[in-house]
Each structure stands twice: as structure tokens, then as C-alpha cells.
């Protein structure tokens, strides 16, 4: 049984005109597997993740089936039990995903207490450990700081730790590096890959950066206009994409060839 199984998932937003962001998508993620969804802005990749975890906007509706470890997540209220402990989520903008008025320490500890009913001491020890896992420098001092006192890269590390404290079996990462500058992007991605191996987590990564995909993913799904146009093993995909759109995406990656 795959860890996550998406069948004929459709996401629609009501309005004039109604928008179909995701249009009958199938996808599976096995345990410990890392899958990347690539595609241009507006292709529906973020909404796909949001629909799985029940985070659609008020006018959004998801149909089809999303099963996590065999349990249906759409519509029946299982999704609340899966959040945190089953599926963790790293957002695009880490500055936004940390509550501004809470210090780093209590903010992390809270997740541990909510997800696993840890005592305050246990949750604090766990958050300290997680901050060490994401290689945040000077952990003791960071625990006492507010999010706005950290740099963008450090905040994204904290945001990853925030998702890890609940010890999910599957990590959703929605363009986790777009808000960061290029050198930090590489560090964060390497970190995500390392943590997935270390904790035996599966990863579902959304990105529009094919360089990221090459380094991280086992499998790649290319999304265009709400549909998957190609799903392939990463190595095969990079060697020779079958769909013209995928070829276009790959050709759009800037190279150094031809520069003086």
C-alpha cells in the first residue's frame, strides 16, 4: 500500500468564472520516496498539496480521493488526525509561517505538546534537538528569540524544524526555497534531503526549479494546466523527457554553455 494515494483529484474554486485548478490528477507516494511536482506558476501544484491537507480557501472544493495510509482524507474529517503526525508541511515563505509574537522555543514546543501530548519539558528538549537537526547555529540563544530576529535562511530552518517536531511520515514542501537567495537555497535543499533520509520520511516537493529536482527527487511529475503531462523516474526524465512541455521546461534551464 502506498503511503499517499491520490486518485482523480479535482480542485475547483467557485466564482465567476469558476476555476478548475487541479483536474483529475492521480499520484502515489511510497514510504521513504521523494516525489517532485514541477510546473509553471498557476499550474495547480500548490493547490494540489493544499487540497490533500484540507487547507483550501473558503471557496475551494476538492473531489476525488486522497488516501493516507489507506485512510480517506477528503470530506470525512480524518484529515485533522493526519496533520502534524502524519503529514508535515513546509511553506513557501518561512517568515509567514512562524507566529510573530511567539519565541522560537515555545512555538516549537507547542507543536510537540499538541501532536504527541508531550509534557512541556519533553517538548522543549525535542524542539532543541530538532533545531540541532536543522543545523541552526547557536540553538540556546535562538530558542529565546522572536522570528523577526532571525535571517531568512534561519527562519526557513526553524520552519522545517516546526514541521519535524511532530515527526511526520510524509513531508509536504511547497517551494520551500523560493523566498531565499541562491546560495541558501542549495543549503536548505540539501538539508531537506538529509533529514528525509535520517528520519525515513517520504517527501512530496513542489517546485518550478528543475535544478532542485535533479538533486532531490526519485520521481518527477510534470504539471501543466491542472493535469500531469508526464510522470517519470528522475534520471529518465532528465535524460530524455517524453512530453514536449517537459522538454520545453528542461530547455528553459539556463546553462553556462555559449557564454563568453
Amino acid at each position: 500500500m502506498p503511503l499517499l494515494e491520490i486518485r482523480a483529484l479535482t480542485v475547483e474554486f467557485s466564482g465567476t468564472p469558476a476555476v478548475r485548478a487541479v483536474d483529475g490528477v492521480d499520484l502515489t507516494v511510497d514510504a521513504r520516496e521523494s516525489v517532485a511536482i514541477v510546473g509553471e506558476s498557476g499550474s495547480g501544484k500548490s493547490q494540489l498539496l493544499h487540497a490533500c491537507i484540507g487547507l483550501l480557501a473558503a471557496n475551494g472544493r476538492a473531489r476525488g480521493s486522497v488516501r493516507f495510509e489507506g485512510k480517506e482524507l477528503l470530506g470525512v474529517g480524518h484529515v485533522a488526525a493526519v496533520r502534524g503526525r502524519g503529514i508535515g508541511f513546509v511553506f513557501q515563505d518561512a517568515s509567514g509561517s512562524l507566529t510573530p509574537h511567539l519565541r522560537i522555543g515555545p512555538q516549537l514546543a507547542e507543536v510537540g505538546m499538541a501532536a504527541h501530548g508531550m509534557t512541556q519539558e519533553a517538548a522543549r528538549a525535542e524542539s532543541r534537538r530538532m533545531l540541532e537537526c536543522v543545523h541552526l547555529p547557536d540553538v540556546e540563544r535562538r530558542l529565546m528569540q522572536y522570528p523577526h530576529e532571525l535571517s531568512g535562511g534561519m527562519r526557513q530552518r526553524v520552519a522545517i524544524a516546526l514541521a519535524l517536531v511532530a515527526r511526520p511520515r510524509l513531508l509536504f514542501a511547497d517551494e520551500p526555497t523560493t523566498a531565499l537567495d541562491v546560495t541558501v537555497q542549495a543549503e536548505i535543499l540539501a538539508l531537506v534531503a538529509e533529514l528525509c533520509r535520517e528520519f525515513g520520511m517520504a517527501l512530496l516537493l513542489v517546485t518550478h526549479d528543475l535544478g532542485v529536482v535533479a538533486a532531490l527527487a526519485d520521481r518527477i511529475a510534470v504539471m501543466q494546466g491542472g493535469r500531469f503531462v508526464e510522470t517519470a523516474a528522475a534520471a529518465d526524465f532528465l535524460a530524455g523527457p517524453r512530453h514536449p512541455y517537459s522538454a520545453g521546461l528542461l530547455a528553459a534551464v539556463p546553462t553556462l554553455a555559449g557564454l563568453p
Binding site: A57, G84, F89, T99, P100, E110
Partner: protein, 282 residues
Amino acid sequence: MKSGLWHDALGQLRGDRAAMASLVVLGTLLIAAIAGPAFVGFREDEIDWANMAASPFEADGHWLGTDRLGRDLLVRTLHGLRVSLAIALAATLVSLVIGVAWGALAGYLRGRADALMMRFVDVLYALPQVFFVIILTVVFGRGPLTLLVAIGAFGWLTMARIVRGQALALREREFVEAAIVGGAGTLRIVGRHIVPNLLGPVIVYATLTVPQVILVESFLSFLGIGLQEPLASLGNLIADGAAEMETAPWMLAVPAGCLVLLVFSFNFLGDGLRDALDPRDR
């Protein structure tokens, strides 16, 4: 954990001179209102037949003069301060607790629950407050408690609307989504991630509510459906004083000065608190 925020806010507030001065003034007024009347030597309804409408320091013992009926103005102002402060603080507390909880929950739940909760607020808004107060006084009689219920019943409506608007916006922020995805329940999200983040506007609005409530109270007393003589409130003292403005200006100046001091202090304190509670300003 929670004490961290308040501890920092206190530290920040200590550095704010205007806010600290306001705190001292408010504290002094509060102590004077509670303990003061016992030291003045006149009762608030005691008539001094020899000194009617005496100006300040003119008559023995009446430091701030007397009113038209020869009652000591100082002790009446202190009593008025006590009643006005009590009603204002209690009504503001009611509006804080009910308004914030109602608004934050409506904004967070959105959709049908939100519509239902806010329509209830709209219905109360549509009731004319004066008629509501008249009905209350007919049923329960006039007095401070009726006045408090009447003001409290309406005071939280605006607060609920302000808070709901803020909560609707906050709900879409990623840190709330992060908390939802982290597995936190509704109450925890509203209590830990939404309410603390809207404390700034709430506190500013609350400090504006206090003087507003004092004015509503004086308006109702002036109409004759609020507090009744010989009970004094700042409102009806000012109304009385305004009638004698040309012949005995101190009757207006004393309670009015007291009200101005009160309102100024609350506003400065509100500004200071807003700065202190926002960690991004540090």
C-alpha cells in the same frame, strides 16, 4: 511561555515616559476615587446651608467650592470619578471578553458560523440603545448595575466587528495554516495564534472605549435615565456645571478637568501598550 510576552511588554512600557506618567495619574485617580471621599469630611449629599455655590477656597473646608445646593464639589467629583471609572472599566472588560472571543471565533470559523454570529451582532446593532436602556430601567429600576448592563450589551458589538475583520485576515496567514497543519485544535489556534496577534488594535480600541463609555454614561444621566441625584457621576456633574458656566465656572471646570485628565491618560497608556505589545517594533 505566555509570561514571556507580558514580561517583555512590561520592560518596554517602563521605558515609555508618557505611558508611565499616565499610569501614575490613573493610579492616583483610582486611589483618590476609592479612598478619597473618606478624608474630605463631607458626605456627597450633605448640604452646607451657609455656603451655596461658593467658589474654591472661599468657604472653610470646601477646597474646590460647592455646587448650587451647597454640596462639596471635591467629594462629589471623587464620587463621580468612582462611579464613572467603575462603569467604564467594567463595561470595557465586558466588551473585551465577549467582543474578542465572539469576533475571533467568527473570523476563524468563517462561512456559515461566521454569518450566523455576525447577523446576531447586526440585530443588536439595529436596536436603538436609548430605548433598550429605557426598557431596562422600567424592568430593573435605575441604578449603576442597570447602566452597566445597558452599556455592556452594546459595547462589545464594535469590538466584535473589529476583531472579526482582523481574524479573517490573520486566518489566511501562513502561520495560522502552519498551526493548523501542525495539528493544533480550534481553541488553541484562536487562543495562541490569532488573539495575541490582534491585541494591538484591541488594546487601542479598548482605551478608546473607556472615555466613550464615560460619555455614553453621562449622556444617559443627562437624559434622566442614567444615574440619579444625589448619586454623582462625572457625566451629570458636568451637565450640572454646564448650566452654571457663566456664574460659577468651577462647577464645570472641576469635573471636566478630571474627565480630560482621565481620557488623556487612557489614550497615552493605550499608545504605550500598543508599542510594547508588538515585538516587531523593538
